[in-house]
């Protein structure tokens, strides 16, 4: 069935799937007594539903909203905010959004506040095709679960109205994973002048005044921990949940480096990191994958360097606001099913991210694209971005290689620590030092 949908005429098939979704909705709503008559209006109505989605800039893409409108009729109103603002708004203004597009570590903060509702996985078509990383924390059955807020640990709750995270997979999912990646350091290979192999290389005195890390406390502290661990300065029990002593030691190492003039700047937004790298102010820094792509698309060499200690990973997902009911709730499920049906997955994969359901995404990518992005093989033809811009010439290989090599080497997930408030306080002292 899913396959037919992919290869058939998009319009006809999509209308049918909408009708089907609507019909399911009618049944549900009629059963619950939410509507009393005129069910045929629903099929029309779902096309008029507007869902307000907010999240971080990475996946709030206009192209997705446009395609969603064309395929399902649902209008998406997207708002991009920074990670902290997303968490706060979700908690303080729970009626201001319908769909939250947030990271799992934000979910750990936000979901217990009772502002979101868990999703019934029986209504999610591709749920069993989701990458197991999000279901049990293991990419392969023999993988070791990484430190930090691993998505599966906050991916499920115990019941429909529960806000307590479940230990293992249940029917009730807090968020449907959408987009994730493994982060590492970005370098300018033309300027570093030596091979970069470890996280500690960012502290090389040779790069004095030419290094940068990001100034978002909850993520920056992880990069700092990867660096300190690599230097052998600090030993961590769990980098994703440090003790006060571990935080103190980490900040002390970073402060000493800052005072010695190791860092050129600290960046807070994606654009800043691109500008720092492209202008040559910085030649080695924390970076996000699309920022590396953005630097490359300016014709400047930039490598997303795999490092011996592994990656710092992050993952985002879509969650549904508590206040959604009836038609809007059905539209939200329809949207999430559409999200996992392949087009978006292919779009995200082509940006260098990974999508949660790989099988459907594969059907929307050419064999060569799939081999380049997912299997780490040399490109047979030129690799284009989703907008059609040239990213890599034929023959290029993806930094870090195949999906298993990258996501299989995750050392730590972005996390919220128990000592969160203390950590933020210390981080601010580091920035002010």
């Amino acid at each position: 069935m899913g396959k037919d949908k992919m290869t058939g005429k998009p319009r006809g098939m999509n209308r049918r799937s909408v009708l089907k979704g609507a019909a399911a909705g009618i049944g549900l709503a009629a059963g619950s007594g939410a509507i009393t008559g005129f069910p045929t209006i629903w099929a029309q109505n779902i096309k008029n539903v507007t869902l307000r989605q907010f999240g971080t800039g990475v996946s709030n893409l206009n192209a997705i909203a446009e395609k969603c409108k064309a395929d399902t009729g649902i209008t998406l109103q997207m708002t991009a905010l920074d990670s902290d603002a997303v968490a706060q708004r979700a908690v303080t203004q729970p009626k201001s959004f319908d769909i939250a597009d947030i990271e799992y570590w934000i979910c750990k903060k936000v979901f217990p506040a009772g502002v979101m509702q868990p999703m019934d996985t029986s209504k999610i078509k591709n749920v069993d095709k989701i990458v197991p990383l999000f279901l049990n924390g293991k990419l392969k059955p023999d993988s070791v679960i990484a430190q930090g807020t691993a998505p599966h640990s906050v991916g499920f709750v115990e019941g429909k109205d529960s806000t307590k995270f479940a230990k293992s997979q249940t029917q009730w999912m807090t968020m449907i994973p959408t987009i994730y990646n493994a982060d590492t350091l970005g370098i300018r290979p033309d300027l570093v002048g030596r091979p970069i192999t470890n996280w500690k290389d960012i502290m090389d005195p040779k790069f004095k005044g030419k290094a940068s890390i990001l100034n978002i406390p909850s993520i920056g502290i992880m990069d700092a921990a990867m660096i300190c661990e690599s230097m052998g300065e600090v030993k961590y029990g769990d980098k994703g949940n440090m003790t006060k002593a571990e935080i103190d030691k980490t900040i002390a190492v970073m402060t000493a480096a800052k005072k010695a003039g190791q860092f050129r700047a600290f960046w807070k937004t994606f654009d800043e990191s691109v500008n720092l790298m492209a202008s040559g102010e910085v030649i080695i820094q924390s970076m996000w994958s699309p920022a590396v792509t953005a630097v490359k698309s300016k014709g400047i060499q930039c490598v997303y360097q795999p490092l011996a200690e592994g990656y710092r990973a992050w993952g985002g997902g879509l969650g549904i606001a508590k206040h959604l009911t009836g038609l809007e709730l059905d539209a939200a499920y329809e949207y999430i099913n559409w999200y996992l049906s392949g087009w978006v997955g292919a779009y995200l994969n082509r940006q260098g991210y990974y999508s949660a359901v790989l099988d459907t995404a594969k059907q929307h990518m050419s064999a060569d694209e799939w081999a380049f992005w997912m299997e780490g093989k040399p490109a047979k033809t030129d690799i284009l971005s989703p907008e059609g811009k040239l990213l890599e010439k034929a023959g290029a290989v993806r930094d870090g290689g195949a999906f298993e090599d990258r996501m299989g080497k995750v050392a730590c997930w972005n996390a919220v620590m128990d000592e969160d408030r203390y950590m933020v306080q210390k981080w601010n002292e580091f920035i002010a030092a």
């Binding site: 706060q88 506040a113 800052k258 920035i431």
Partner: protein, 283 residues
């Protein structure tokens, strides 16, 4: 018996209402919130002193305040020197009123763009591979790009001076234009040199303008966060930046406590300036 006269109260009412609604109430709100408690997502009505205790007990606070005061002092000296010179030139050297107006308007032209744009435009200019470094290296003045130009205190002060000098020029120019030219003639006739006229006649008569300009510059620099953040590359702290950080983490009570302290510090500074110069005398 004379009837109570309502007229003055009615006349003062609109202004009192505007001040009350848009100044007094917001400030009182800030003061109240500064005693509230908070966690990561909520602010909790309460009466706790922890916000002040954490703020005043942290060595970072003192360092940040001193750093901000340092910026304010350096920027004040620079804007005063530049502002006074330009105002002097406009008021006493440019003879025709037309040219005075024209030159004055030219001074304000950069203010037609947003101050963020004016600030950010320094970044590509001062960068390691920026225009200035390329030019200096091309001329053979330096062999290596000058690193201190960008993401440094120098860059912060430069941007501040660029942004705020006009606030010094305008009131000083205004004061200078009110000076009776006969006084200058009299001073010259009595045998004063140009320098003596400047120091003993013009400068004292410009004091109110200088004071007003100083209040503008000092309060703007003390409250700034965006200039410090961008021009220091996130490496320096200012009081405003501390508050912005706290707000971005929803720690509104902590930010409010900091705002109250900053307000007190700035009010004390303004009060000190008013003690030195009686502004109303000349208005």
């Amino acid at each position: 018996m004379k009837r109570f006269n309502y007229t003055p109260y009615l006349q003062v009412a609109p202004l009192a209402f505007v001040f009350g609604a848009f100044l007094v109430i917001p400030i009182l709100t800030i003061v109240v919130v500064s005693f509230w408690d908070y966690d990561f997502a909520r602010i909790i009505p309460d009466f706790v002193l922890t916000n002040y205790a954490e703020l005043l007990g942290s060595p970072v606070t003192l360092r940040t305040y001193l750093n901000t005061l340092r910026y304010a002092a350096i920027v004040w000296v620079c804007t005063l020197a530049i502002g006074f010179t330009i105002a002097y030139f406009l008021a006493f050297h440019v003879q025709s009123t037309t040219w005075q107006t024209a030159c004055f308007l030219i001074c304000t032209v950069p203010f037609l763009t947003s101050n963020i744009i004016r600030m950010i435009s320094w970044i590509p200019f001062l960068g390691r591979n920026g225009l200035l470094n390329s030019a200096l290296m091309g001329l053979g003045v330096v062999n290596q790009p000058l690193e201190f130009l960008l993401f440094s205190d120098f860059a912060v002060v430069l941007a501040f001076v660029h942004l705020y000098t006009l606030f010094m020029i305008v009131p000083i120019f205004n004061s200078m234009m009110r000076i009776d030219r006969a006084l200058l003639e009299a001073a010259y006739d009595a045998g004063a040199s140009g320098w003596q006229v400047l120091v003993n006649v013009i400068l004292p008569l410009c004091k109110p303008g200088i004071a007003i300009g100083s209040i503008f510059v000092v309060t703007l620099v003390m409250g700034d966060f965006i200039t410090v953040r961008f021009m220091s590359g996130g490496q320096s702290a200012s009081v405003g930046l501390m508050m912005a950080n706290a707000i971005s983490l929803l720690q509104y009570p902590a930010a409010a406590a900091n705002a109250v302290i900053l307000l007190i510090v700035v009010l004390l500074m303004v009060a000190a300036m008013m003690r030195v110069v009686d502004i109303r005398k000349e208005l």
